[in-house]
């Protein structure tokens, strides 16, 4: 039924502030969505209090990217990141299945009586466990993240551990922004299933500079498309 969606392409942005350099992140997220990538975002709430604009931007990014958004205090980042990952994978599958249902019987899931939804839910869940995943983590390493970066690194490691418990193959890549020597974003780790490779990429990250969220989204989207391009024949 959904063989053509053999791989789920996701991107998650972890940030504590508003973008201030380069292309609009909302535009970048919307372009990524057109490429079949779901863009979600987590906003870390600072004790000093974030501005309303920060919150609105995260919501706008995830809306444009067809994903979900959430906020959390630094101490809850690990749980939020994992819950969000599971939710967004299921959300993407739900959208796909819903679209398929609509094309076959002219109804989406919410037009099925609640009593009868369990079978669809079970299907999505089982599929979610087995489907392969390309997951780009887009991590804000701007100066304001200084105190939170170590924690965020641990959360990324925890997430990888959790993803490795799935039955499907999960490939994780890490994009940090801003990038080295004046560039806007940096591929800290290419798609991998190996924990030690991801850890090596994480280790090198340091917090400094501004917040070019938009360009970072573009970099991550490019990484996903590039990764898939040579393997395209495999999925068709």
């Amino acid at each position: 039924m959904i063989q053509e969606y053999g791989v789920i392409r996701q991107m998650i942005i972890i940030t504590d502030g508003r973008s201030n350099i380069g292309v609009s992140p909302i535009e970048a997220a919307s372009k990524a969505k057109e490429m079949g990538i779901t863009v979600s975002a987590i906003g870390i709430i600072d004790s000093e209090g974030n501005e309303e604009g920060d919150v609105m931007e995260i919501e706008a990014i995830s809306k444009a990217g067809g994903g979900l958004c959430d906020y959390c205090y630094p101490k809850d980042l690990g749980l939020t990141l994992q819950a969000m990952t599971q939710k967004t994978v299921n959300h993407t599958l739900e959208c796909i299945v819903s679209k398929q249902l609509k094309s076959i019987v002219g109804q989406d899931i919410t037009s099925i009586e609640p009593k009868s939804r369990m079978r669809v839910v079970e299907f999505i869940e089982n599929y979610g466990e087995r489907v392969d995943l390309l997951y780009a983590i887009v991590l804000d390493t701007s100066k304001s993240m200084t105190n939170k970066l170590e924690l965020a690194k641990n959360c990324v490691v925890d997430l990888m551990e959790a993803l490795n418990n799935r039955k499907g193959i999960s490939r994780v890549a890490l994009v940090s922004y801003p990038g080295d020597i004046g560039s806007t974003a940096n591929v800290a780790c290419e798609f991998t299933t190996e924990m030690h490779i991801l850890e090596k990429g994480l280790k090198a990250l340091k917090a400094y500079g501004g917040t070019p969220t938009g360009p970072a989204i573009e970099t991550a989207a490019g990484l996903i498309i590039e990764y898939e391009a040579p393997a395209q024949a495999h999925y068709v």
Binding site: G78, L79, Q82, A83, Q86, K87, N90, E94, I109, T110, E113, P114, K115, R117, M118, V121, I124, E125, E129, D158, E161, A162, N165, R166
Partner: protein, 299 residues
């Protein structure tokens, strides 16, 4: 933070009519409201935008409806406000308090152990169905004020043996303590139960950290708790004792004081539960005359 701002909702499919009274809790997957149904009276409504999680939770609560520690559930339905579709189910409203209160009150050790034994039996019963209650925590365990029984709330975390654990709270999570992976197996469950007992005994929660289980055990030792009991908790945490029934058996064999032995609660279980929990309720009321905060799952 609560998303349902309207005063009344009507189910899209089954036309249940509810007057929203107040929000009473929120969890990882939804918000809980106290509401008044036109015929049933007071109910708790679990409301979320996540169709998948609520459908699953409803399904499992319905499947094990007969069990007395599971709140009765009514219908699963949708409603719409401001063009957004929400999903909800209605369930029995449990008036009472959660185990956090029991933890904080200074009750006799034996009483705390007896309460824990009841909880452990419930968890063992769930495990017998091939399921792990991965988000075991004080907030999810309620003392029902009306008949003084123990009820569980929030069944979103029930996970089949062998699957990855997706809903958990770090304090009770073996992985957060650096003592194992996050997979729903019987030892994951026993670990969380041991943490529940530990925090119940010391009367406060701890912050989990990798390689910090030893300092947690030291706190227990300072607290004047019988050594045999500490040894048992340590064995469970280390994975030397696996399975709630084995834990239970070991717990019952512990001599808590020279004269006063722990009851065997095999055949007269029901009456003992009633008496114990009644005692608990009575003591709590004496200790704390302030009105109980009713509600399901306040976090």
């Amino acid at each position: 933070m609560y998303s349902v701002k309207c005063k009344e909702i009507i189910g899209r499919w089954y036309k249940g009519k509810y007057k929203i009274i107040k929000p009473i809790g929120s969890g990882g997957v939804g918000e809980i409201y106290l509401a008044n149904h036109e015929h049933r009276g007071l109910v708790a409504l679990k409301v979320t935008k996540s169709m998948m999680s609520i459908t699953k939770e409803y399904d499992v609560m319905k499947r094990y409806e007969g069990k007395d520690y599971i709140p009765k559930v009514y219908e699963l339905d949708d409603f719409e406000i401001h063009g957004e579709i929400y999903h909800y189910f209605a369930m029995e409203y449990i008036k009472g308090y959660n185990l956090t209160k029991v933890m904080k009150d200074s009750l006799p050790l034996k009483l705390k152990i007896d309460i824990f034994i009841i909880i452990l039996q419930i968890i063992a019963d769930i495990n017998d169905e091939g399921l792990i209650y991965s988000d075991l925590k004080h907030e999810n365990i309620m003392v029902d004020e009306r008949n003084l029984t123990i009820r569980l709330v929030d069944f979103g975390s029930l996970t089949q043996f062998g699957k990855g654990v997706k809903e958990y709270t770090p304090l009770y999570d073996r992985c957060s303590w650096g003592l194992g992976d996050r997979v729903a197996d019987i030892s994951y469950q026993t670990f969380s139960a041991a943490i529940l007992l530990m925090t119940l005994l010391i009367g406060r929660k701890l912050t989990p950290d990798k390689d910090k289980i030893k300092s947690a055990m030291d706190i227990l030792k300072k607290d004047n708790i019988p050594k045999t009991l500490i040894d048992l908790i340590e064995k469970v945490l280390k994975g030397d004792i696996i399975g709630c029934r084995v834990f239970l058996k070991n717990l019952r064999n512990i001599d808590l004081s020279e004269k006063d032995k722990v009851f065997g609660i095999d055949s007269w279980l029901d009456s003992i539960i009633a008496i114990l929990v009644f005692l608990l309720g009575f003591m709590l009321m004496k200790l704390n005359e302030t009105s109980f905060r009713g509600g399901i799952n306040p976090r």
